[in-house]
């Protein structure tokens, strides 16, 4: 742990701390929303420890709270988490070579940790950033979910506090920067996202909860048609 702090510069450590704080707020919102929606307190707490993926947790709980079947909740969460598969191939080297660091590190892989790894080219700093962000988020997220779940019983109406806006807000803050670059690849990505988002929202009144987000993958037709396979991948 000691070498972690020496390897990372102040700016990166501050950014990791800020992301942990922001995600703690979202975690507290998750715990409070789940419990005030009628789920027993162990559901958000155990789910956060074992699943540890905010998007999938909100999606699964959202499906259940809006009356969907548990199998639909699991499917919605798994489809969202399928993105972790390419992440693992992209940054698997930062977990180290020993089997137990791979088994532990894999569980700590999140959008945020991957984003911090991709910011840096130096292998030692990538390694340090991954573990600092992964461990920091695991502790702060799970502690916050417990606090939120306990508070959720007291908060009758999480909507009055605007907690339902916290999750889409932090998700947007994570994704939006990757959509603002001015190049052909990002322009294609923007069009795919726009089509996918419109399809998902338009399908919501007609489909069971969880399915509309999956239907957003129709946006991929715009990415398939471009001859991206011929491009040189960016480093």
């Amino acid at each position: 742990m000691h070498s972690l702090w020496r390897t990372l510069n102040r700016g990166t450590l501050r950014d990791i701390a800020l992301v942990c704080l922001a995600d703690a707020m979202v975690g507290a919102a998750f715990g409070a929303i789940a419990v005030s929606g009628g789920l027993p307190a162990w559901v958000p707490v155990v789910m956060s420890l074992l699943v540890f993926a905010g998007g999938a947790q909100f999606a699964a709980v959202g499906v259940v709270l809006s009356g969907g079947a548990p199998i639909a909740a699991v499917a919605a969460g798994l489809v969202l988490n399928a993105r972790l598969l390419p992440f693992g191939f992209a940054i698997g080297d930062v977990l180290g070579g020993r089997w137990w660091t791979r088994l532990t590190g894999a569980h700590l892989m999140t959008d945020e940790a991957v984003a911090f790894v991709l910011r840096d080219g130096d292998p030692r700093r990538r390694h340090a950033a991954f573990w600092a962000c992964g461990l920091g988020l695991f502790v702060s997220w799970n502690a916050a979910v417990v606090l939120g779940a306990l508070a959720g019983r007291g908060i009758g109406d999480t909507g009055a506090l605007g907690l339902d806006a916290a999750f889409p807000a932090v998700l947007l803050a994570l994704v939006l920067p990757s959509l603002t670059e001015r190049n052909a690849r990002t322009a294609t990505l923007r069009r795919a996202c726009l089509l996918g988002g419109v399809v998902a929202v338009a399908a919501t009144p007609f489909l069971p909860a969880g399915l509309p987000v999956l239907l957003a993958l129709t946006g991929l037709v715009l990415a398939v048609r471009t001859p991206s396979g011929a491009e040189v991948p960016c480093p």
């Binding site: 922001a22 919102a29 969202l80 009055a160 339902d164 889409p168 932090v170």
Partner: protein
Amino acid sequence: MPLIAVLALAAGTYAFRLAGPVLRHRLRLPGRLRHLLSVAATVLLIALVATSALTEGQGFAGWARPAGVLVAGILTLRKAPFPLIVVLAAATTAILRLLGVP
């Protein structure tokens, strides 16, 4: 939500996470598939933002929540720190509801 559903979600998620670090030396995903998977991740996240901002159950969520998320988007483009983005998004939604906006 039964425990078995939580466990199924957890097991599947862990499998997705572990496959890359364990298999990356033996198996290489083709570049085109990797590109599509990364586009798919962003498309899914944006769709999740759109549906969780605009809809509740199978209907419209009201104006207060998307207004809060819009504030988050503007603050992100202005490079505001993460905690500020979350607090101001929730505060916008809460204040609009206090004023009677659904």
